[in-house]
Subunit: 419 residues, 2 copies
């Protein structure tokens, strides 16, 4: 959650939230009655048909439509709510999970799509993952359509072909061939579709005018991704379709590079959805990332899933209760630090053990004469304590008097020095 | 939410969350069957009796009990969830609202109570409120009991007297007198109770041994609050009882000083609750603060309720798309700043207007020759732009070359310089 929020902040997304409980028809209107079987729905005390939200987009559409004129465009909103489904639980799919959603509404250009993919990748980077751990694969519904038209696929055959493309890398080739034939494609069209997912389409020659038109935003998208510093994570993959019917432009998914898990994140452009849900006609793009697959990936890679440790643990050098411990904790907290101390009288070694167990970065001991001189001793705890080079904070303290005043001065000069 | 989380971080509280939906019996076990009328409860698809949570403490108790042995003590947890009740809505009471909860579990000493009140007051301070805007009033159930015993009130009469005390400042004196008589108190006891809420009890002389014993933690509590720097916000008020039956020690509430609104926050010590809910026997204290009254108070005082603005808006000095805008935004984001830029081609004045409307603190214009020199111009936007003294960032930039490199160096030296 901290990472999701920190990255949102850097990209100037504003957090919103909606009710966990929505009218059932908000979901049936978008996905049809068959969605009800997967929903955690019920009739409430007032006889209303309601459901615990399975996704955020309908809520977002409703909220944006309600205030569309008053909102500054483009709208850059994110939220990190709990989602619910009433289904059998399995690996990577729980009945309740968190999902962060980032959306840009009111901008049709691929600059918005590029911002969104940069957000998704920046989250990966913030967790310590690299482009060797995670791959972003994108496609574009407009390009797919143009290529299929060029291959002789009719508009009516496209939904069937999209369904095959979506699974083409996860099912045997003969199954794909059969399904394309069943969708009504002739042998030439089937060949063209099967080769689409391997050919480097961006360098294609002899493309139709429609394909050329569709390639222009895709090329600009790649350029933007390069300017946003994420190009090495990204590849074009025409088998990325995304199941949902409402995407209209760029679609993308993030996968673990080993291909062992479900998609980490996915999204795309949905320019017609807001209007079709009864709202404003506003172009929009967004993506969602759940906590379940991401947590599995971080655990597999041995990376920290939760980080929540105080910067300082303040200790009195006596077993008596020392009011200066509370005063020092307060002074450090007002300097912006996260601070804990023992709430009951304890010997110093026990306090140090508690500090270590809390994962505190530094152990601050109030020395004899603290009242007059502010004398303290700062110890670096944890793994970093064993390294040859002390932390920037320890180095900054090294050539100053060992007092609380020095510590506060160092923090005042550079609050970014805290972990 | 940002303030709630920032203060929690300073006081080394760890965020937890639980399901919005809990078994109905979790609430009836604590509060009796009569609570059901206020709950948003229903029977789910699997025939389970469930309710949308009306409060967090039962969930907290259940979660702590499930892992009591594995958790480091004292447990310092907070959460900021949505709560639900199925009641008529009124000012300061909505059907769905947010409530932050901070709890310290596993520490019986008043040091924990003092930490909690310091958290509540630090939140007020962080919102720009002062001890003239908000008052913290506390009492102690042990002291109340001792004073009532000394006044001749029997143990059996105490619940009735607590109920009167709880309302004594909000109802006519004769009503309180009648209710105390109805609770079975004689004239002397009634006099004693009526004078309790005005006398300065901490200076009481001729106190019983039980009162003296009960005064000791109260005196230490006040001292701790002083060391934690919040004493001027706090007063002893023996009419603070808190409705809930389960409090066992210090109880407190935060009010707007004008007395126009409901309590902003309230809490106290509940040493027996976890065990009575079927969990571990662990001492505990905590408080809750909702968003509704707090928001009303901030609006009444003309204080910012939402703060969510980018640090920088990056603009190209041409109507053509400039890849350097994205590159500069990326560099500033990697330095930890919150950055936005126009996603479509716009003239400079329009970009500046968009930056102002987004509430950006600084407007960064890429100058001619940026490619070679990194030349930029930084403007301070918004209210602060009109002040005589420029911001620390503008002053730090003043004696350096006007380049992106200078800006990044200033931020690298002091990330705390950002708003």
């Amino acid at each position: 959650m901290k990472v999701w929020r920190a990255v949102a902040d850097r990209f100037a997304f504003v957090e919103f939230d909606g009710p966990p409980l929505e009218p059932l028809e908000l979901y049936t209107k978008k996905s049809g009655e068959e969605i009800v079987g997967q929903l955690y729905n019920f009739t409430d005390k007032g006889g209303r048909e309601v459901a615990l939200r399975p996704e955020m987009t309908p809520t977002l559409a409703r909220m944006v439509s309600a205030k569309a004129n008053a909102l500054r465009k483009p709208i850059r909103w994110f939220c990190a709510p709990q989602m619910f489904r009433y289904e059998r639980q399995q690996r990577g799919r729980l009945r309740e999970h968190y999902q962060v959603n980032y959306d840009i509404i009111g901008e049709a250009d691929v600059t918005a799509d590029a911002e969104l993919l940069a957000v998704a990748i920046d989250i990966m980077r913030e967790f310590g993952l690299t482009s060797r751990d995670v791959r972003a694969r994108f496609s574009d519904r407009r390009l797919l359509r143009a290529l299929l038209h060029q291959a002789g696929v009719t508009e009516g055959q496209i939904p069937g072909v999209f369904a095959v493309l979506d699974k083409i890398k996860r099912q045997p080739e003969n199954v794909s061939l059969e399904r394309l034939a069943a969708a009504g494609l002739n042998a030439t069209a089937i060949d063209a579709v099967m080769s689409m997912t391997t050919a480097d389409t961006l360098g294609v020659s002899g493309a139709s005018a429609e394909v050329e038109r569709a390639l222009e935003p895709v090329r600009r998208y790649r350029e933007h991704l390069s300017h946003l510093g994420v190009n090495e994570w990204v590849e074009l993959d025409l088998s990325i379709v995304r199941g949902l019917a409402y995407y209209t432009g760029v679609v993308f998914e993030l996968f673990d590079a080993k291909g062992e898990l479900r998609a980490i994140a996915g999204g795309g452009r949905y320019d017609n959805l807001l209007e079709s849900l009864g709202g404003e006609n506003l172009p929009a793009a967004g993506f969602a990332m759940g906590d379940v697959v991401l947590t599995e990936l971080l655990r597999d890679r041995g990376l920290n899933v939760t980080v929540n440790s105080p910067d300082f643990w303040v200790a009195g050098d006596s077993s008596e209760h020392d009011p200066n411990v509370m005063r020092t904790a307060t002074a450090l907290r007002r300097a912006g630090a996260s601070v804990e101390y023992a709430l009951r009288k304890q010997q110093l070694p026990k306090q140090r053990k508690a500090a270590q167990s809390a994962g505190a970065a530094y152990f601050v001991i109030l020395e004899d004469g603290f009242d007059k001189s502010g004398a303290i001793r700062v110890e670096e705890l944890g793994e970093s304590g064993g390294r040859d080079a002390a932390s920037p904070l320890m180095r900054a303290l090294a050539d100053r008097p060992a007092t609380l005043q020095s510590l506060l001065a160092v923090l005042g000069d550079n609050p970014g020095m805290l972990p």
